[in-house]
Amino acid sequence: MSIRDLPRPIAVLLSVALPGDWRADIARDLEEAWTERRRERGAVRAAAWLLAQSLWFSLRFAPDRIREVGPDTRLTSTDLKLAFRSVVRAPLVTTLTLVSLTVGIFAAVSGWTWIVGSLFTPPPFDGGERIVMVQDYNHTANYGVDVRAEEFLRRKESLTTFEALAAYQQRNVVVGGDPEASAVRQAVLASWDLLHMARTEPLLGRLPTPDDVVPGAPDVVVLPHADWVTFTGADPDIVGQRLDVGGVARTVIGVMPEGFGFPYSDLLWIPFDERAADGTLRLVGKLREGVSLEAARAELAVVARPDPTQVSSTDAVEHLVTGLTRPMVNEREVFILILPIALLVLILTVMATNVANLMLARNARRSAELAVRGALGASRPRIVGQLVSEVLLLVVLATLLGVWASQYAIDVFVSRVNLPLFTDYSLRPATVVFAAGLAALVTLVAGVAPALKATGPSPGDMLRDGLRGSSGVRFGRLTGALIVVQVTICVGFLSAATLLGQSLLTFTFDRYGIPAEETLVAQIYFGFPYELNDPDAGIPPEEREARRVAFMLDATRKRQAIRDEVAELEGVRQVAFGSRFPGNESERAWVEVEGSSTAIQLAEAADAGRGYFELVDADVLVGRAFGDDEFSSGSGVVMVNEPFVRDRLDGTNPLGRRLRITPEGSPGDAERPWVTIVGVVPDLGLNPGNPDNAAAVYQPLPDINIVRMAVRGEGDPGVWTPRIVEIARRIDADIRVQWTRTLADQMNQPVAIFRGLGVAFLVLGALALVLSAASIHALTGAAVTRRTRELGIRQALGAGTWPIVQSVLARAGAQLAAGALLGGVLTVVLLRLATVMPWEVRQSNPAALALVVGVLIVAGLAALAQPLGRALSIRPADAMRVE
């Protein structure tokens, strides 16, 4: 009579839940009733009944079990002392366990902290959870629809679900009149009542009032705490004084408290009359109490009349009302963002199961010790408690380390980036509960499960096994499956890391010899008359084209004016415009070579203005650069780089060859004119991630409304930023300097991100490899111990070396092979995912894959060598002795 006659999950449940003195009898009676029910009502209904009964039995006996087992499972100082001794005695297993669990908990807690801190932090003031962003999105044309003053005022008037609705525009402004102490800052021109929504008292002075925005009222500003400190030296009498903001002397009317930001962090506030506002407005509102987002959306859909110049009658437009801290995320999408956490918890669980394998193998070797303890009167819960305490010690340590490392890493990251929204990455109670939950999960998987399995056999069996040097603990299909999962992760991540690493880990921009440290890059936007894009605006096509050309020509004139003035700045030696510089996002075009039998191919594409190549120290290797008269559309010339000549023209003379270049979206457009190659420059790193596919074409920079400007000279390039903003504003108040950064920062940013990704893959893959090898080693070793007698008898019956090797390696070999196969599939999936990244990743590389397979084979052999050696050294006499 045995509980094992029941289905395995039921047997496991009952073996834990029922008291030992009645367990077998209850199992017997349940089996009798189950058999009868199966006969009468069918297998499925009988199985459901059995499961329900088992759960009910478990619940009914739970109070008795807790009362009886509780004292036995209570940890004592002796337990902890023994656990500590056991942990110290096995440094390799301890280190492996600690490192893998720490990494797993670190990753899961970091993911949790990041997502919860970013998405679920309401603005930290009264009623902050009711503050929303209001946006229209044109799904047909894929862009956000601008809202103008008239539409804003109509919505403000009509929307009843909103307590308040305010508008704002974002601007870069130079703060501080003294050129030596000024800086570019972000400001919002905002409705006077915007700050009132936040219900926060200013530290000094007052909030704006309607009187501040009437025509003829003095220009005023409200300062954030940081700017009050930076620009006024925390002057307590600043209110009423004037400060140069955006070239205007504005009276400071208030200073907000430290840490306050609204609707984003790190802003100055300039009240404006939205009725007179020119250009696009952004809307932020506060819902009335008890109003749901759905209700507000429904009302907005009725009230809103999107700008007809941006939305045609057939376009699908969504009216978004979203919480301030998650402007792009609605309730359904939050679920998608939770998925990464689930994935990280899954990876942690796989790591924990690996630790479970190690513990299982270790417990199996301790059969005799456990049996003796049992024989001396220790109950099963007592022994389980002792075994679990060893794992618990490591889990607690790993959890503390993981949480600490996660907080540290997030602090470092946050200190380096300017977060635009309300975030709170501090250690919240919810994070502590989450981490405790992870610790409980890991303890259950890595501690309780192996301990229960190890103490399952009766003390007699265990003692017998222990004395003859074998173990009664069996390793099931689940254990094997987990090893396969581990090997899969190991192969997949290592392959991906190797392929990524090839282009990223060894990558440096140095090889291009670009003067990155002394060059500043700025993106300049000249605006655009949106009505020209509206087919329903009633503008005749000829007029539309003429106005578009005129606008672009004007933009080019302003661009030249900016260039002339920036070139005069102190320390500046060269200024050049282009559509992109090294480190900017990739732009590609289809290139057809006249007279070539090769199909058209994509190549990197850039537009270069005057002085572009000189600025990046690129010599024209063959031919010439663009002439001054060639910077207009239809000049019919193009320059290419060396890789283009090598790969696309087979190294032949490029000068005079003709190319047809068409945008990535319309390959091989026969309407496009042929252009002639006039010069060749070196590879300037337009596709640094994959130098083998670096062919690039450069066309003269046309008249366009958004360009990048590179400024090179002596000294710190950062000091030119305020001057450039000032110059652009002086030339035209609507010109926006959208961002500036040094070329070095621009080039290093993507490299740093992808290097980080490559290193993360490498670390996870290597960790998975070591864990897999350790698991296979431990389990195969334990299996050899368990089979000592059988192997001895085989030897006695004349089995040669090879059959023994086969029988020992069959299982581990199958696991490795299955893992390698699935790992190959995972690699393909990961590399397919990598294609969405703005970095070229090779889809296959036999050498790299061979390296991974080689590493796997070496690790597998290393893991199996010792157990195999032990199996081969078993002699028949050993088998007799253990009996």
């Binding site: 009645w22 209850i26 017997r28 089996e31 009798e32 009964q53 039995f57 009914r60």
Partner: protein, 109 residues
């Protein structure tokens, strides 16, 4: 050390075991209570109660001869001890005394 009083369900289990005599074991006791007392009886409750009664020393248990077991798996039969019979009797007397004089009230209700 047996307790002086019985819970209602404990009394029902003991009475069912007495009615079944040598055939009293977990399943048959649950069936007997369901059939005779005409109230749905969970098997788990019966086993929890049997174990408690055994710990109180009110019943003893024995395994049947495996060769005589229909499925080859011996059942665990229950024997009610004299102390338990005395407790059941005391319980019945207590109830009877409480009933006395209430026949009219309870029968009308």
């Amino acid at each position: 050390m047996p307790k002086d009083t019985l819970g209602e369900f404990e009394a029902l289990v003991l009475l069912a075991a007495l009615r079944l005599g040598d055939e009293a074991y977990g399943l048959s006791i649950a069936d007997e209570i369901s059939r005779t007392a005409q109230r749905p009886t969970g098997r788990a409750s019966v086993y929890v109660t049997l174990r408690r009664l055994e710990q109180k020393g009110l019943i003893t248990t024995r395994h049947e001869d495996p060769e005589r077991a229909p499925s080859g798996k011996p059942r665990r039969f229950v024997t009610v001890r004299p102390e338990a019979v005395a407790l059941v009797q005391r319980s019945r007397l207590a109830l009877q005394r409480m009933w006395t004089g209430l026949e009219e009230v309870l029968e009308d209700a």
